[in-house]
């Protein structure tokens, strides 16, 4: 987790303590708490928190999915998503806090597999940054999902966003 001090602003702004901006990146084997993800991003300096929640679907190509299994290259998830956060802050400098939480291990259908919350003073930046963030995560985070079907067959999924996927 990294944090940055904000610098600048008017004399009146500088005389108050400025809340440092936060990037909160985590992997969890427990169900995600949307409330906690929101709380990590909300800020008194911001008028908006934009939220994205990725959920697990019940069907794929006519087959019923009974569970999903996620695995990750943990330390590289941290470094890749930190780089995504840096990109977001370069493109949308007004973004305040970024919280990205992803599930690991067994996840049941209709549970949240990923939650992203981003705050900014006005809603435009937060909304755009969240859309960018999930696309960038799908393209670059070393995380893999296996769908297990009713028939006990299973399939490792491939994101079209990933440059070396068979689907791209």
């Amino acid at each position: 987790m990294s944090s940055r001090e904000e610098v600048g602003g008017s004399m009146e702004e500088r005389s108050e303590a400025v809340e440092p901006s936060r990037d909160l990146i985590g992997l969890s084997s427990e169900p995600l708490s949307i409330e906690r993800v929101y709380s990590s991003a909300v800020s008194p300096s911001c008028g908006a928190v934009a939220l994205f929640i990725g959920t697990t679907r019940e069907h794929f190509e006519g087959r019923r999915v009974i569970r999903l299994e996620y695995e990750a290259y943990d330390p590289m998830v941290q470094s890749e998503l930190s780089a995504v956060c840096r990109d977001i802050r370069a493109r949308w400098p007004m973004v305040k806090h970024i919280c990205i939480q992803h599930r690991l291990g067994l996840v049941t259908v209709a549970e949240a597999s990923v939650a992203i919350a981003i705050s900014s003073p006005h809603r435009g930046e937060a909304q755009e940054a969240v859309g960018y963030c999930i696309n960038a995560l799908k393209a670059s985070a070393p995380i893999w999902k296996k769908e297990v079907y009713e028939s006990e067959e299973s399939k490792w999924k491939e994101n079209p966003e990933c440059g070396w996927s068979g689907n791209s």
């Binding site: 290259y73 990923v114 893999w144 491939e158 990933c162 070396w164 068979g166």
Partner: protein, 86 residues
Amino acid sequence: MTARVTVLYFAKSAELTGHRSEVVPLPVATSSCQLWALLLELHPSLAALQDQVVLAVRQQYVALGDQALLLADGDEVAVVPPLSGG
């Protein structure tokens, strides 16, 4: 000269090789396609991932190609099948 490198296998590559990680002596000066060829010799079943795999060397993605790589003892090289996070 060789370096003792930890090779990590994820997702489908772990199923194909039956390993999650192993320490492999690898040439200090090499390329990513050479590395892949060496891993294929060790685990021919990895051929199922041909054209749909990259490596991660010291946690940086490296496509299979002629790019020169330098390895040292304790480095991590990961076999990275197509990503499916999110």
